[in-house]
Symmetry: C2
Subunit: 317 residues, 2 copies
Amino acid sequence: MAEPRVSTIDGKLAQEFAIPSHVEEVKDKMTDFAKRHAAEGRRVVVITSGGTKVPLESRTVRFLDNFSSGRRGASSAEYFIDAGYAVIFLHRHRSLYPYTRMLSNINMMDALQFSSAGAASNSGEVVVNQQVLPNITKVLKRYQEVKERRLLLPIEFSVLSEYLHLLRAAAQALSTIGSKAMFYLAAAVSDFYIPASEMPEHKIQSSNGPLQLRLNMVPKILSPLVKDWAPQAFVISFKLETDATILLEKAQRALDTYRHQAVVANVLDSRRGYVMVVTPETQAELILTEDDVKNDVEIEERIVSNLTSAHKKFIDQ
Amino acid sequence: MAEPRVSTIDGKLAQEFAIPSHVEEVKDKMTDFAKRHAAEGRRVVVITSGGTKVPLESRTVRFLDNFSSGRRGASSAEYFIDAGYAVIFLHRHRSLYPYTRMLSNINMMDALQFSSAGAASNSGEVVVNQQVLPNITKVLKRYQEVKERRLLLPIEFSVLSEYLHLLRAAAQALSTIGSKAMFYLAAAVSDFYIPASEMPEHKIQSSNGPLQLRLNMVPKILSPLVKDWAPQAFVISFKLETDATILLEKAQRALDTYRHQAVVANVLDSRRGYVMVVTPETQAELILTEDDVKNDVEIEERIVSNLTSAHKKFIDQ
């Protein structure tokens, strides 16, 4: 394959966004991971998940953030693995994590207890109360299996600059496996940032009066990702709006602009029960019924099922 | 006691910061908690902990945040309880929590395992691997004891407006126990906000170009807290700076302005090993030695020891 040409965004990334010191090491890890799994016949998906931090000061006390628990990315990772994929999980530090997410809504101390008397040989053991966590056996088994088979490679970011450089590294790493690679860009990435050159070093003093901030637009990384870094991959972006009336148009405009394969479009308030998968030719509405919700069906199962089928067709073409 | 006079900040709070629907209910809970413990001879401390979110849109996708894991507040709560206090823990949703904080740096799934064979009566049990969590027995015991004795009342906030209204409610609730009340204001509260009236409803569109933000200054709530809401309480504020050269002066200026009892002053980079406790008359430096660090001594133990002594003197006067 030809060396990807240096686009203006590559230059901007190098200039205005601090390069994480471990990026080359992570890239090697991702390359090995992708090659190994592709050799074993697996497709590989890079899932981005969680929000990005945008620092307002270089010794950061304050930052801009995006609403995102990482729920969609974490649950999707599980369904991709169930569908036979290997997953690179590029996620915000402390956002929800596959399998472990089941522990996120409780105080874990409330789910632990000392092992009951009677089992004298085990006295002093701390056990999980399975009335508090009824699915723990099933989920822990699956977690251990996935770990044992090394199907999940977790990579963390916190700030926007880490996200941007690590995603580029992931794209370059996965360019080695061509169309077997999928990008599922579910992270809530900031559209705005303060360039390093305009950032104060120290904590902004409130005694100086009201705060004026001027934020630049973050370069649209989807463009070089599709054109230059991983041109053969199957790429899905996400569109979250609060205003449903502009959603479809924005999804279609994104496909026109970036020429990737699909947009998963959703509205903040209804995102757990309704999404639209938009491609240049089709629009599929995925909806959870009341029965689905009762049976703990998650919409990510439907999204992943839709996209893995589309990816298969894409590869076969 | 006379009805607290309506200061301008009360008016501002009502006008510009949405009142949480459960604030009266929480206030009653806090009042009961404080009275019960004071009647049993305990002092009561309100600890605020974690950062505050400042939304940029009313259907919030983006927000400003403050760097804070909630570590200092969560560990201090444990030491206050050890010192005989009852604790109202007013903390940011998902920030570190007393006792449970020991689980925050691991993936909990990595600390769980299926109970070993041999103990047949326990088959199917999920147990904590005490090689991963060597202190779990001690900490779980203490957690259960504190819960049983109802020494810790957790109250959550996420956004700045919740924090402000809940802190006022806490101050009013604790005014019923006079000087037995302490406020330990460790939360990292935003100095800036966007008033509801100037906030766009929908997600800010990046296609409109660079983002200009103008943020107002958050009213200094310490002033009515000390003067009006809980005038007999022992009040400690915190000062975090990145620039060590302005720290002491800023602490002293705060004491001059607000007339409270103490400032815990610290610098971002060294905050885990060094703080200054500044009162109108004294400055005490608290420092962890290398040996302390080796022995897992936490600086919060020293801070709490210093302040509980000072609180005792304050009550006896």
